[in-house]
């Protein structure tokens, strides 16, 4: 991609067009070059090595999650007037994406680790089961009574933590927060009052951004999606759009086209049916879209686009 092509693509996308294949290909090339030139270590790879398959998987995942789902393509283009700036942002974004993935993968047994730590003898508790309240041996007996904002404020106040460590000797990653760091976190949190293990893990998730991303499977999320599909998947998407339109009834199509601004009651009046029917149709629409994979934002956008074009 040349500078001139980039400037044209940038202007078009910011005006609402879909990203051209050449721009995505340039992004893919950034990923390949980053890996080829060892700018990304092997343990960043989902497979532990950088095979062609891993490269393609990372690229595809990054495009889907960052560029499309989170709208970062638009964010980067707005801030990058020149191709070299865009490429730099792409590299940063890919790297951050991989790091976020590492955090998630290394946080899988966080709850068990926190429980194990709490039961290790350095803390005291009252109660049993999930409601078991842990506190410092010489700490306050009062249970923590704050909301999530307060919980997060305390978690932030504990300072910096090394979230991910790579053990060069063992050639493996440590779990999210090493033992000492985890202990420091737990002690720091319990200084604010008694907490359950679940509350501490919740604080960890808030503090380190470990909330799992919700899959874009629900109708509401899909309806709110605005990003364009990967042009390289265009033939597949076209087939899905056609299949979806074929399976929807006329009323279902009209329900699908109604925006959130239209109250259910009003929509029911417009379509001459009950509000219960509207709810039912929405359920069916979700079934159809899910079954055909048409709840992916790119597909649904095209379904809606086609419907609205035909509605003019």
């Amino acid at each position: 991609m040349t500078e001139v092509e980039y400037v044209a693509a940038r202007a078009a996308i910011l005006a609402g067009d879909e990203p051209p294949a050449s721009l995505l290909e340039d992004c893919r090339r950034r990923v390949v070059l980053l890996i080829r030139h060892a700018a990304l270590p092997a343990h960043y790879s989902p497979y532990g090595v950088w095979s062609e398959e891993a490269t393609e998987e990372v690229y595809a995942d990054w495009v889907a999650v960052r560029l499309v789902e989170r709208g970062q393509l638009r964010a980067m283009l707005q801030r990058a007037p020149a191709l070299r700036v865009f490429r730099r942002m792409v590299e940063t974004s890919v790297r951050q994406h991989l790091i976020d993935g590492l955090k998630r993968s290394q946080a899988t047994n966080l709850y068990e680790r926190v429980v194990e730590l709490l039961e290790g003898g350095q803390f005291t508790s009252s109660g049993t089961g999930p409601g078991r309240l842990w506190r410092l041996v010489h700490g306050s007996a009062e249970p923590f009574g704050g909301d999530d904002r307060r919980l997060l404020a305390i978690a932030w106040s504990l300072g910096e933590f090394r979230v991910i460590r790579y053990d060069l000797t063992a050639r493996k990653l440590s779990p999210l927060l090493g033992s000492e760091e985890l202990l420091r976190f737990v002690v720091g949190m319990l200084e604010a009052g008694g907490m359950t293990a679940a509350t501490i893990v919740h604080a960890l998730r808030l503090r380190f951004g470990l909330e799992e991303d919700q899959p874009l499977g629900e109708l509401e999320e899909a309806l709110h999606a605005t990003n364009a599909p990967d042009p390289q998947e265009a033939p597949v998407i076209a087939e899905l759009v056609t299949a979806t339109l074929a399976e929807l009834t006329e009323r279902q199509a009209k329900v699908l086209m109604a925006t959130d601004d239209v109250p259910v009651r009003e929509l029911a009046i417009q379509l001459g049916c009950s509000t219960g029917t509207i709810s039912h149709e929405r359920g069916r629409i979700a079934d159809i879209l899910g079954r055909l994979g048409a709840d992916a934002p790119g597909v649904l956008n095209q379904v809606l686009e086609t419907l609205f074009q035909q509605n003019v």
């Binding site: 040349t2 500078e3 910011l14 090339r29 950034r30 070059l33 980053l34 080829r36 030139h37 700018a39 989170r70 709208g71 970062q72 638009r74 964010a75 980067m76 707005q78 801030r79 990058a80 007037p81 020149a82 191709l83 070299r84 700036v85 490429r87 730099r88 792409v90 590299e91 999530d148 904002r149 307060r150 919980l151 997060l152 404020a153 305390i154 932030w156 106040s157 504990l158 300072g159 910096e160 951004g209 709110h224 605005t226 990003n227």
Partner: protein
């Protein structure tokens, strides 16, 4: 300026194309030394002083803003708009460091979640507005107004984007400092034109900041004597009669002063303050004027204003405004 992208450093002619940057950056030199060539380089593009087509920025508009010292645009929401300047709140795409002094706009506002650091609101020159990219709804604009008013009144934000900072070890304190640092270059062109109300002293300050000798301004090439320029910097001379517009614009360029309407305003002020034109109105005759005391010359304000406009017009033409 930021480092080039990693892959740009991998290009075949990186060593020559990026010579200036590599000279001062050991990190990039090391990378260039380690990687093999494989990529076609792209042009180094300085931030463009684009000529905006369409209506000027208005409150509620979301624009990109450029600054001469960065190759990235800043996205920001316009809060107030005047003829020479804009008050903006930056809109950042990384929301990690949100505190209760920030507002977080959800993804349905700009297409991606956005951090609006209310504490980072400041002015830019209107010429720094590069392009409109979006517009805030009245609701979201009101949200930013309310947050701005609350923050600068020392009150809590009505809808804080993050949890409060309750300890000195909170890494968000340092993160905000770094963010403010990163934002500073964007506001610098406006800030450096606020140090005085006349162009001469502003230029003097800028020259001092950059530690530039008069020779480096090449004023003599434009037929301007050193003593004249020094008098101008001291605010003691009318630039309209003493400094040709092309010489002034060239010197401003050497100083790195952004061509802007604010500069024109400062130039007007310099002319008006020091105008000693032909149309002098003599001081009123005094009945018992002491012998030997000449009447004080009083410049004609209208003539001074006309001269100021003429000079501003000439500068604007030279600057391409």
């Amino acid at each position: 300026m930021s480092c080039p992208s990693f892959t740009e450093l991998c290009t075949s002619n990186a060593a020559t194309a990026l010579r200036d940057h590599l000279a001062g950056c050991p990190r990039c030199r090391a990378i260039v030394a380690r990687v093999e060539a494989s990529e076609t380089p792209t042009d180094l593009v300085a931030a463009p002083a684009s000529h905006v087509v369409g209506p000027p920025p208005q409150p509620g508009g979301v624009w990109t803003f450029w600054t001469p010292t960065s190759d990235e645009y800043l996205v920001g929401a316009v809060i107030e708009a005047a003829s020479t300047e804009l008050l903006i709140i930056p809109l950042l795409s990384d929301t990690t460091w949100a505190t209760d002094d920030d507002v977080v706009l959800s993804a349905d506002v700009l297409g991606y979640p956005t951090l609006a650091p209310i504490w980072g609101a400041d002015h830019v020159l209107i010429e720094q507005a590069a392009e409109p990219v979006d517009a805030l709804s009245e609701e979201n604009l009101a949200l930013l107004y309310a947050a701005y008013d609350a923050f600068f009144s020392g009150e809590d934000l009505p809808y804080p984007g993050g949890s409060p900072v309750i300890g000195e070890r909170d890494p968000r304190i340092a993160a905000h400092a770094a963010l403010a640092e990163g934002l500073r270059p964007v506001f610098a062109p406006w800030v450096e034109l606020q140090v005085a109300e006349e162009l001469g002293p502003v230029v003097a300050q800028k020259r001092s900041d950059r530690d530039l000798d008069l020779e480096e301004l090449e004023i003599e090439d434009a037929g301007i004597e050193t003593s004249t320029w020094m008098a101008f910097e001291a605010g003691e001379i009318d630039p309209y009669v003493a400094i040709p517009a092309n010489g002034m614009v060239r010197a401003l360029g050497k100083l790195g002063v952004l061509a802007s309407r604010r500069v024109l305003d400062l130039a007007r002020a310099s002319v008006r303050a020091n105008y000693r034109g032909d149309d002098i109105t003599a001081a009123p005759a005094m009945a018992r004027r002491r012998h030997g005391v000449a009447p004080t010359a009083r410049p004609d304000p209208e003539a001074a204003a006309k001269a100021a406009e003429k000079y501003a017009d000439a500068l604007a033409k030279e600057m391409g405004l």
